[in-house]
Subunit: 384 residues, 2 copies
Amino acid sequence: MRQVSIIGIGQTRVNEHWEKSIRDLGVEAVLAALRDAGTDSVDALYLGNMLSGELSGQEHTAALIADHAGLGGVEALKVEAACAAGAAALRVGYMAVASGVIDLAVVCGVEKMTDRLSEEVTAALAFAADAEYEVAQGISFVSLNALLMRRYMHEYGVERSAFANFAVNAHRNAMNNPYAMFHMPITEEAFNKSRMIAEPVGLLDSAPICDGAAAVVLCPRSEAREFNERPVHILASAVATDRLAVHDRSDPLFLRAAYESAQKAYEQARVGPGDIDLFELHDAFTIMSALSLEAAGFAARGQGVRLAQEGEIALQGGIPICTMGGLKGRGHPVGATGIYQIVEVVQQLRGEAGENQVDCRLGMAQNIGGSGATVITHILEALS
Amino acid sequence: MRQVSIIGIGQTRVNEHWEKSIRDLGVEAVLAALRDAGTDSVDALYLGNMLSGELSGQEHTAALIADHAGLGGVEALKVEAACAAGAAALRVGYMAVASGVIDLAVVCGVEKMTDRLSEEVTAALAFAADAEYEVAQGISFVSLNALLMRRYMHEYGVERSAFANFAVNAHRNAMNNPYAMFHMPITEEAFNKSRMIAEPVGLLDSAPICDGAAAVVLCPRSEAREFNERPVHILASAVATDRLAVHDRSDPLFLRAAYESAQKAYEQARVGPGDIDLFELHDAFTIMSALSLEAAGFAARGQGVRLAQEGEIALQGGIPICTMGGLKGRGHPVGATGIYQIVEVVQQLRGEAGENQVDCRLGMAQNIGGSGATVITHILEALS
């Protein structure tokens, strides 16, 4: 099995891109990544996307973007795993290059959400849950997270304000990321007063509906230096799943798939949580940040919020998270998010994170589909 | 790179399954394939599906089916490439096992189409075409194929009746396939008189809207005999794409991606068209059969219909196609079709095709997405 490196990154700004279609966004990110890698051709394009059919009336989106990026007939496949579609596409690209079948691959994540009414988008996002046994009861993604957050507050005796710093930290870090949607710091007070969406989930607990695309170029590690002086090596790539419906899980506050995929990744990389210098986690809602930190081994059960309260998640803290803004600050174009996370870890490992630079050698990204039913973890290393 | 074998197959009957959801269908096929392979666990599930979101309000479908098949937290990803989604999932499973990352994978194709009105299904199928430049002009999938068929008839001076035997052959072969939707022979006369859908495409040129699921289990070739006395080896796996919109192609009657993916597959397998003993092609419309035979090297340009007219496509002919009924006779649950094709080639290579048995050692399957924008070719060999 060949080892795999990342030799190029590209991204559009996350925003409400009224003037760009899903094709435009995907092509822009793909071409930026190819430029960064110093190549104009690849053997394959793997696309992470969740809702191109539902929101743009477009499936077959990988072939469309390959076509309009001028990639001339290459292999092109779309991969979907709800909000983990981005990392799922990276997983496929990783296996393609590792196998020797593909030498040079571009992996793109893209989502175009703002052409539809927000209630249509909310309905489509719920397709990540169990259509027959959750959604048919009226559950939405926000209300599922509200149930989890309420349960967490009850079990561990914490107030909603304990989650504030997840959002404050994300918005602060997004300030220095030109590709982030929000360049607007928020205060703990604003978080505490924020309008409720589905109590106790407020507006400032929640990542925004938005558009964006990000891409990375992969090649075998042995050839990485031919393309790039600062290649980044994929040390681990791991996928795990859990029961899809939250009511089927014996312990809803334990993200079993996050635990399993993190453990598999640590084993592959032969490291532990203590070796990870930054952690791009899936903060679609603040409750997910707490549960992810616990499942991935950075905090004991019920202690995830402490890392926020005590500032350990800050750039200078023990385990920096959301260093370029996370889903809350950079934005969460769902199928693209997993690749934005990877692009940002690469920026950090290359030393290109500007004012948000963290001292790092190992970075971890964890992309979550649904309410934790699919979790994909990658560990990246700066090649010295 | 490890070589990859197929050690288990499973399928539901293709039909209008009013009483089964997409979850039920997928689980049934997966469990049948695992039983056939003699295993009750795998490391990963890769799911081919096009329209679960649009027609069942369900994305994240791979994790859902893995969950309800009792696969206990395994890696699960959905792969989409329009009507080539089935073969696309096999492609991913193939790379996963070839890479050494995954030892045992189940690849399932599933589609549930009959819970919606046929006009909704027709609209969703058009998502395989270019939403902004084809569909926005009112094009549907049937009308795209009608344009191609009309052009073929004009360029090569053939009548619609020249296509009759594609449909007659498919229905005849489906008679002996218990998993086929149609057990109803048709005559050339019936074909010639069939009701027009989009002239010159008639009802009997067209594969039906239907439900179904099929699955295969993959393992490294070196371990195949531990599971199965008659493993089948994947000699070649190749994907190619073309311009997505038909109007962007300089020669619309040449399926460039079918040509490219067949050529890549022949090179990998070190064989040519003359070595192929049966060819499961993508007869969503009769025109696609003619164009596929030409692009894959079985007939010169404009001569594809001759193979039908002269009976060369029959079970006893020079190049048997649609040996278990093809898309027209077995049915075309779109994201499942690519796996049905593989299951049927395996049945032939194992000598389990009953009255439709062809004398064979090498079988080829070609799955087409859209009007030819994605084409995926696999060549399988009976392990002696």
